[in-house]
């Protein structure tokens, strides 16, 4: 199970975490990945300059925007081998 934490702190919220979360959830639903990937909201991850901050499992925090969601997910899927 892969857990994606999306920061919804002030800076990330302004940079569009709402859209990022929606997009993530939509793609996961379309591709029926619910059993493999869980999306969670998180309060400030402490990397406000990287808004929108996203954390996959315990890996380093990355920066993500709405357009990048699809390739971001593909990268995870490739890495996890699912």
């Amino acid at each position: 199970m892969t857990i994606i934490q999306v920061c919804i702190g002030s800076a990330c919220h302004l940079k569009g975490s709402y859209n990022v979360i929606n997009r993530l959830q939509n793609i996961i639903r379309e591709k029926k990945l619910d059993s493999q990937i869980t999306v969670k909201a998180a309060f400030c991850l402490g990397e406000c300059t990287k808004a929108v901050s996203v954390k996959v499992n315990d890996k380093a925090i990355q920066s993500l925007n709405e357009e990048g969601v699809e390739s971001f997910l593909n990268a995870i899927l490739a890495e996890e081998g699912v």
Binding site: I8, S10, Y18, K40, A41, A42, F43, C44, T49
Partner: protein, 389 residues
């Protein structure tokens, strides 16, 4: 802890007038509160001046310990004489409310005060006093927890005259209405707003006279401790959270970092909701033992917008019926209805998010937002304590 004197007041201006001819003056003192409601003769500028003079003179003199006799005498001799009516005239009601619930009231030509005691309209014994040829009504009585006392200007009783109703509604109808809403509404401001809203409707939004309502309610103090922003020194985290948890009131945490600190110090999980009831406001979160956890500066500034709408827009009085349960709406409801004493614990550590050049500049200084919140709460008559940590 003794009861809290919750005061709310609202006015509408006569249709087409920029100034209100009614004036409310509220003076808080050591032993209680003095409230003066003055209704100047006529409307517009002239009435406004008469009412302002009356309420200011009465408020200032009574606070300094002058007798009611001296005060009325001064008012009568000071007010400018109206050119049309050759009169110097403003009606008024004065309330002196002591912390233990004792009330001293003086009424001069305003509609009688409305007292709801034990959920029933109760008559007050009044004594006629003559000062300089003017008849005043004086009374002494007691308020207990939950009792609601309302004073109104005649524009309230006349609401609807010539529009929806031939004779307006009568004092007894106003009293019944107050009796009904007192059962439902918890805070004084909601009661005064509801009554003013009813007047607006009866006048069909074209008020024929200035109308003012002042509501006083004795209620049990309700404390809210609100913690926002990380303390300047991280070593303080532990003691701040300890003090927050030891407080007797409700606990609110506004801010991602602050929430993380509380979660860590309490050893309780921080569970962030994925629901966005309003896409503009970040979701809330849950920590066991904390009544409300929200994001920081965005939620707080939205809360301020909502509070301003509630305070300054007479037609918005339905804050508690709001279906929206986003963080800002929940916080607004808590602060307006369920709070008499607000303790703000404001961390002063620099937030990297707010140093981002793309961040809207008016949000960059959270201190400003918090100060504005404190000011609005004081305007609502709440006791506010601001502590920087």
């Amino acid at each position: 802890m003794s009861c809290f004197i919750d005061v709310g007041f609202d006015s509408i201006n006569k249709h087409g007038e920029e100034l209100c001819g009614d004036k409310v003056e509220i003076i808080k003192g050591e032993d209680g509160i003095i409230i003066v409601l003055a209704d100047g003769l006529g409307s517009g500028v002239k009435a406004n001046i008469l009412a302002t003079l009356t309420s200011k003179i009465a408020g200032t003199m009574l606070r300094q310990g002058a007798s009611i006799h001296e005060t009325v005498d001064t008012i009568v001799n000071t007010l400018p004489v109206c050119n049309v009516r050759k009169l110097a005239y403003s009606t008024f009601t004065i309330l002196k409310i002591y912390k233990d619930g004792r009330i001293y009231s003086v009424e001069y030509d305003n509609p009688p005060l409305i007292l709801v005691k034990d959920k029933r309209i109760t008559e007050v014994d009044k004594k006629q006093v003559e000062i300089n040829g003017r008849m005043l009504k004086e009374s002494n009585f007691h308020l207990q927890e939950g009792d609601v006392l309302t004073i109104i200007s005649d524009g309230v009783v006349h609401a609807g005259v010539g529009a929806i109703l031939n004779l307006g509604w009568q004092w007894s109808n106003v009293a019944d209405y107050i009796g009904q809403i007192s059962k439902v509404e918890k805070c004084a401001k909601n009661i005064s707003k509801a009554l003013i809203d009813a007047c607006q409707n009866l006048y069909d939004y074209k008020a024929g006279d200035d109308a003012t309502v002042v509501t006083v309610k004795l209620r049990r103090p309700e404390v809210i401790d609100l913690f926002t922003g990380p303390p300047k020194e991280p070593e303080e985290d532990c003691s701040v959270v300890k003090r927050l948890v030891q407080g007797i009131g409700r606990k609110v945490v506004c801010g991602g970092t602050a929430a993380n600190i509380v979660s860590r110090e309490l050893g309780q999980a921080l569970d962030v909701s994925m629901e966005f009831p309003d896409p503009e406001i970040p979701p809330i979160a849950y920590i066991k033992g904390i009544d409300l956890v929200t994001e920081g500066v965005l939620t707080l500034s939205k809360t301020i917008d909502k509070m301003k709408a509630f305070i300054f827009n007479p037609s918005v009085y339905t804050i508690s019926k709001s279906e929206q349960m986003d963080g800002a709406s929940q916080l607004t409801k808590l602060l307006i209805e369920d709070c008499t004493h607000l303790n703000l614990w404001v961390g002063t550590a620099v937030n990297p998010a707010h140093q981002n050049p793309d961040f809207p500049s008016d949000l960059s200084i959270k201190g400003k937002v918090v100060e504005e919140l404190a000011m609005l709460m004081k305007q609502l008559g709440k006791e506010v304590k601001l502590t920087y940590i």
